[in-house]
């Protein structure tokens, strides 16, 4: 197809194109120049492994262009410990705004001299003998190993029920929402009980919009415990560093939504608080019947579960850091919601549905037999079934820390060890084969 359509069918022009587009050969290709891809690049450079980082757009572009204006990181700045660049800024206890983070990553890329090829979108990765062929908007590459660093939050998850909403209801995903003013007039149903959903509900309510927040299984968490950020406790108690092997029911744990937090010092974000501010809280958006959105009646149970889990977490903090917490530090007010409604009229009452139902990775370009029957990438601590393929940044990939910037150093270090071993065997096999 491409050949017959090409204007360079004969003569020097075509030869010139061919020379320019000649497939390049390299040991390792990292796909994605976010914090994980850059950290991997830093590790590989340290070990002098020949590699390149392919970036579809610009460094940190998902933070810049695919998230809402008010978003700041949920983790404090002092946790932003990247290989070769610990946080050294003026505000260790602050929470970095997403645009500042994108600049920060740009600075990191320069600091580690990462070999980033920008505007190089990967269309396909497939096997080519013992190597891999990576097809991009800027031509082909061949390599021995590929690191998938495009992240766990590439595409918004939208439940099937979205297709059954009447056309009069405007639907927006967490990737496309920017600010309250952009939404059409009317009452907004925010779907999702994670950090994203609660932040949306709070922001829209503060902007004077009428908001219903639909909540399923969720994770309640205090911003601070005894005047320290909850991440200090999570790290200090070891919870943050728990390995995939130590976690009960790994599949379930990998699907748990993000904790109800906002990147603002000393500010709690939870359902009681939102209700007090004027947000109506309802159960999980479970179905549509005769034009009514139906909400599950199990919300009291899920709130109780979330409270019990938070209580256990606080207890664990107290047990692992002796004498740090008094009984009073562990106290909190149990969630106490008004009796939730079970239905609301779509179109007449609800004019906008904002899906804060999570994100998922996008590996549609990965043409390898490495997925389970639900389309999830199969891996063992980031080591993918296909030899020489590695993943980064997935939920509980190696540890709970794996999806956090703070967990990147340990994960990239471990995978670098594995990857170098693989390259060595590859070289030996290649030498014998030749």
């Amino acid at each position: 197809m491409e050949r017959s359509m090409s204007p360079f069918r004969n003569g020097t022009a075509r030869i010139g194109l061919r020379m320019r587009r000649k497939a390049r050969d390299i040991d390792v290709i990292i796909i994605g120049a976010g914090h994980a891809g850059l950290a991997m690049s830093a590790q590989l450079s340290r070990c002098q492994v020949d590699h390149v980082v392919l970036e579809a757009g610009d460094i940190g572009q998902r933070w810049r262009r695919e998230r809402w204006d008010s978003l700041s990181l949920l983790t404090p700045n002092w946790t932003l410990d990247l290989p070769g660049q610990p946080y050294a800024g003026q505000d260790p206890d602050g929470y970095m705004h997403k645009d500042v983070l994108a600049d920060y990553l740009e600075g990191y890329a320069q600091h580690i001299k990462a070999p980033v090829k920008r505007d190089t979108r990967v269309h396909r990765v497939c096997a080519a003998g013992a190597r891999y062929c990576v097809t991009t908007t800027q031509g082909e590459w061949y390599c021995r190993a590929v690191v998938l660093a495009t992240g766990a939050y590439a595409e918004p998850n939208v439940p099937k029920i979205a297709r059954s909403l009447p056309a009069s209801v405007c639907q927006v995903t967490a990737r496309d929402y920017r600010r309250a003013e952009d939404l059409p007039a009317g009452k907004v149903l925010v779907v999702g009980g994670s950090a994203t959903g609660l932040q949306f509900a709070q922001e829209l309510n503060a902007a004077g919009r009428e908001v219903i927040l639909s909540v399923g299984e969720h994770v309640r968490m205090p911003r601070q415990v005894a005047e320290r950020d909850v991440y200090w406790w999570l790290m200090r108690s070891g919870v943050f560093w728990e390995t995939a092997a130590e976690v009960d029911d790994l599949t379930r744990a990998r699907g748990v939504p993000s904790p109800q937090l906002v990147g603002q010092r000393g500010t709690d974000l939870n359902l009681d608080r939102l209700q007090h501010q004027g947000v109506e809280i309802v159960g999980r958006f479970a179905g549509i019947s005769n034009g009514d959105a139906q909400f599950s009646g199990n919300l009291p149970h899920l709130c109780k579960s979330a409270d019990l889990k938070m209580q256990r977490l606080l207890k664990r903090f107290a047990e692992t850091v002796p004498h740090a917490l008094s009984a009073r530090d562990l106290e909190f007010t149990p969630t106490d919601l008004a009796r939730p409604r079970l239905a609301a009229r779509l179109g007449d009452e609800i004019n906008v549905v904002l899906w804060a139902t999570g994100f998922r990775p996008d590996y549609s370009w990965l043409d390898l037999d490495v997925f389970d029957d639900k389309g999830r990438l199969q891996h063992d601590g980031g080591v993918v079934r296909a030899p020489g393929i590695y993943a980064l940044g997935l939920p509980l990939m190696r540890r709970r820390a794996s999806t956090f910037i703070a967990g990147t150093a340990a994960d990239t270090q471990a995978l670098t060890v594995h990857l170098r071993g693989y390259l060595e065997t590859f070289a030996q096999r290649f030498a014998v084969g030749a």
Binding site: D248, D249, G283, R284, A286, G287, S289, Q294, S296, G297, N298, H301, K304, S305, L308, Q311, R312
Partner: protein, 190 residues
């Protein structure tokens, strides 16, 4: 899932946790076998009295059967000018919820090595009769509030017991059926 092998040996709630765990593992590998169909049939006797029965069901890839046929009489109470030969159908819903959650509590307790001594559930389903009588179209026919209170005597802290009850709700079929919408198709035979 957590297991505590040493303690499980001394705790006995009469639940075969090993078999349940085995089934969980086996059905993860063979999702087709996990597809079950539950069945019931009923016959109208007289007035509001109906006799229903269950015996066969389908699962694990083939037809299965209870050891015996179970029958259930449903009727309305005398205050509804009925003969009160059996429980009202809505009471069977409460019975189903109690049975399901309590079975869950026993299973989870066994798995968590918690010895149960007594598990009592008290249920209430509140209903405004103006719904079913067609007096007020804004009133629903079914329960508008269901409450269940558990009183549990077990070798466990109050927090552990709360967690036990929460986990039982999380895995309960009847709790899900009551709290979430369900597709229901009613056909009339020729």
């Amino acid at each position: 899932m957590e297991t505590n092998t040493a303690a499980t040996q001394t705790v006995d709630n009469g639940v075969n946790v090993e078999a349940l765990m085995g089934a969980r593992e086996a059905l993860t590998e063979a999702p087709a076998a996990a597809q079950f169909t539950w069945r019931a049939t009923s016959n109208w006797i007289n007035g509001t009295h109906t006799r229903s029965s269950v015996k066969g069901f389908h699962g694990l890839g083939e037809n299965q059967s209870h050891r015996t046929e179970f029958t259930f009489d449903s009727d309305h109470p005398e205050v509804f000018a009925s003969e009160d030969i059996g429980a009202t159908p809505v009471e069977y819903v409460l019975v189903g919820l109690a049975g399901c959650l309590t079975a869950g509590i026993a299973s989870v307790a066994q798995n968590r090595a918690i010895q149960l001594r007594k598990v009592t559930a008290t249920l209430e389903g509140k209903m405004d009769l103006q719904g079913i009588l067609g007096i007020d179209k804004d009133v629903r026919n079914g329960f508008d509030d269901v409450t269940i209170r558990f009183d549990i005597d077990a070798d466990a802290t109050p927090e552990e017991i709360e967690a036990l009850v929460a986990q039982s709700q999380k895995r309960s079929a009847v709790f899900d059926i009551i709290t979430n919408p369900t597709q229901v198709t009613v056909q009339v035979g020729g």
